[in-house]
Symmetry: D2
Subunit: 286 residues, 4 copies
């Protein structure tokens, strides 16, 4: 089944009548944010959602303004979810996946740009109690000639990171979710996810350390846009050949990607540097 | 009628059975380019297409590569159409409309960036036989606080331009036309055209000199994407409320806008500087 | 005399023993800022400093951080000086001079980018009590084919601005002043000032309305760097032919220009929109 | 001795009367390019120039235009020197050192951007006879939290590269050499070179494979500018305290860095892909 979405939440919705027992689900509202937790526990669950077993947390947040400090409440919620999935000690490698030259694919590299790196100063500045954080945006294979997974693995091995946080742009089925949905999982990133570029797996089995994946959808495929807009009973009227592999993205994608990347970087910062406030982090990284 | 397209060609298609006599039409193929000419001659024609009377030439060209000199054949075709609509003498003001910070809206400003300006050297370098050309990208009202039409008019009056070429991003009804359709008209730009921002009219009646409009579609609205994908009989199944005012743009919009802008600038250059080849212009402006 | 500086302050220093009576001078310290006022009152004063008569206020401020709200004290001081030179009512046109593609020349265009334009909403949003402000970055003659002064004049006439604030990068004689000296004058901008590009005069006599010039030095010419480094008695040893027309700029010029531009835009905002705080302005324009 | 230059050529000039036997030197003119070869053969030579033993080839080329294909002659000369220093087979990793956000430091990252990567397609497209090339711009330690040398080593180990080409911005003693001098060496990059940032060594001893370093000067320190401008006998008059650690760079540094990076990328391409012409490479990478 081709779900045309990277969100576990949306995949579960699509098989609503056939969700196996091995897929647990709960949701709650925190302020203006809806938090959904999906846990895939069995092989049947993996097959049903075509995702590896593990936790998938989705936060549906209000649209972001240009000023990320306006979104402090949401940043704290995202940070709490990241924090719950990772160990509280050791060096973290933040890896920004995607192509910084293609705007809807640039969330990973831009998040890295706004992330506070501390690994090089953590020892020499003990007064700040920094957790060591490294951050790299390795580029895509078309630019580097190397599978992204290989670059990350080479760096991860070299610096002996204890955990990897991989940030990537995702595909969604719903235009209303673009730019305001954050999926966090502890399963890493599997081949073929992302916005259409097969990338080699980034996971505990390939890197040897836990891999937290954080993604935000920035594209919907055009067929899905059409299907979403057709009411029950009208599906047969859609001419799929007209839509091909077109990906749809909002016209204001430039500002969406910038805002999302700042919020993700601050959320990662809050999850990793317990002594720094959102304002501190914003001041240190803008 | 809301056509959801700025292309006269597509508006005519939409009222196919009701095209009045006052709308003339012809098409021909030149190599890989299809050239369509629509002429609106009467009030009925104006009302039918909701566009002022005049000539609308559309060139449907093959997808552009990153290297504009590869598209020399298409550049010559576009240049010939521009040349046919303007006087062969006098100072030309190229105005790039749109917001350079929003990628799909940046075709105007980027075309200006690649345009060869000669007005300041035309007299002092007579050996080049330059036609005087000025080029400005006035920004959008949200940035400047001034209607774009007012900025252009102020500059046009001041430098006593004999003709204005206004370049703008357009909306189309078809994703397959994005980035590879050029519409040229001698009617200027009317309020509310472009990608959704009302702009004050740019026309002979407001500027006092002929206004040639050149546009390339970069967005389709999402409802149109859905409608296009639905076969005859299925229209009623579309739930318009789900699509709102979303604009759809290709994922690779960054490179599309750059390529299109270079080709337009070279086409304008060829139309205005008869002594310079595409290679000369590319060399002088890249 | 070629002063190799656009700062009235430095020109006065250079003729220290020969300052005519028609050049008044006073200085004071406000916090960490040194404010110097030079007033040229006579023809002798004009000739001595090679600048038109009028007021030249220089603020020497501490180096700026990346976060402009950190510089609120300095912003208020700059705003107060701007405010003292202009009428408290009417439409203001902010003109950002210089080439945005050459980093040390980009202070004007970047200041415009961060300036709050209100002219288009001042009437429709009376609750904000906005003073009407328009802001344009007309580009340089090499890009547009039009003298910058002509573009500004065309727009100024068209929108009937009551005052122009022209922002430009300057040359200084001292590397220690780059990026942390603000000169404000009520005399407009004269031909040949700026960083070496002759631009047509922008002044009350050419535009018909008062012109406030705000400039910050970003370059020093290399000969001056050498001369500054040579102690008294060693001047004759300098081989001028080795330095030509080279301009010197700090290695971190990219971040300096961004920080300065944000601070100037906020200072202009504070001078013009009395009801908005620095935080309000930063929030509305970032 | 602090030479304030990374060019072996300039260091040798500075100790002209004391060049030990272990420093060989020859120069020749090819068209408009002067090629200088310095070979450090002994410990005395290493100490005299404060550089490791090996070959240092310097090409002084004419100023570059915006169009790199205009510089085909110089590209071929640079390519020939690179080719002479490396094996003709095996995978090459091109590493662009420096900070892409600081213009004079961006030559490394920008060269990578224009480099043709082929490692991922070399096997699947045998008809092109590509030599496998990977290219990465790892960012600087302040951004990533990781020593640049560590990042390169991690990737180099992972992909089993047979050779590394490290591209970096350099410091020179002469403003006339900025942007038009290329130094190529087979000794790698030592700590503390570059424009002032200590970087961990990149060399055969740390990476396990040959490391070719290619550098172009983009900065001169201000004290050197002053000293250069003072004739013999005047040195004592220079007040070093006034110049501190200021680095001088040309005002048009943005365009210089872009032109140099394109030329270096094409030169590397010519050295590695014998079947592709400069035009082919330009077409594939622009």
């Amino acid at each position: 089944m081709n779900f045309r979405t990277d969100l576990a939440l949306e995949r579960r919705e699509l098989i609503y009548d056939n969700v196996p027992d091995g897929v647990k689900f709960e949701e709650k509202i925190e302020g203006k944010t809806k938090i959904t937790r999906i846990k895939i526990e069995t092989k049947e669950g993996e097959e049903a959602l075509n995702k590896p077993r593990g936790n998938y947390i989705t936060l549906e947040i209000p649209p972001l303004s240009a000023n990320p400090t306006e979104s402090e409440t949401e940043i704290e919620l995202i940070a709490a979810e990241i924090s719950a999935l990772i160990s509280q000690k050791g060096c973290v490698l933040v890896a920004g996946l995607g192509n910084h030259n293609i705007t809807p694919d640039a969330i990973g590299p831009k998040t890295v740009e706004y992330t506070l790196s501390t690994r090089h100063v953590a020892e020499s500045m003990p007064q700040f109690n920094f957790r060591p954080v490294a951050a790299v945006a390795p580029g895509v294979m078309g630019q580097t000639g190397i599978e992204t997974g290989e670059v990350i693995r080479g760096i991860c091995d070299r610096i002996k990171a204890d955990c990897v946080i991989a940030v990537d742009a995702l595909a969604s089925r719903s235009v209303s979710r673009l730019g305001c949905t954050v999926q966090i999982s502890d399963t890493g990133i599997s081949p073929g996810s992302g916005v259409g570029n097969a990338r080699r797996e980034l996971s505990q089995s390939t890197l040897g350390v836990p891999v937290i994946a954080i993604g935000v959808p920035t594209v919907v495929d055009a067929l899905t846009v059409a299907q979403d807009a057709v009411k029950s009973g009208g599906e047969a009227f859609i001419d799929k050949s007209k839509l091909g592999s077109l990906m749809v993205t909002p016209r204001e994608i430039d500002s969406v990607v910038t805002s999302v990347s700042k919020v993700l970087a601050l959320s990662i910062g809050r999850a990793l540097q317990k002594d720094l406030s959102v304002s501190d982090l914003y001041f240190l990284t803008q």
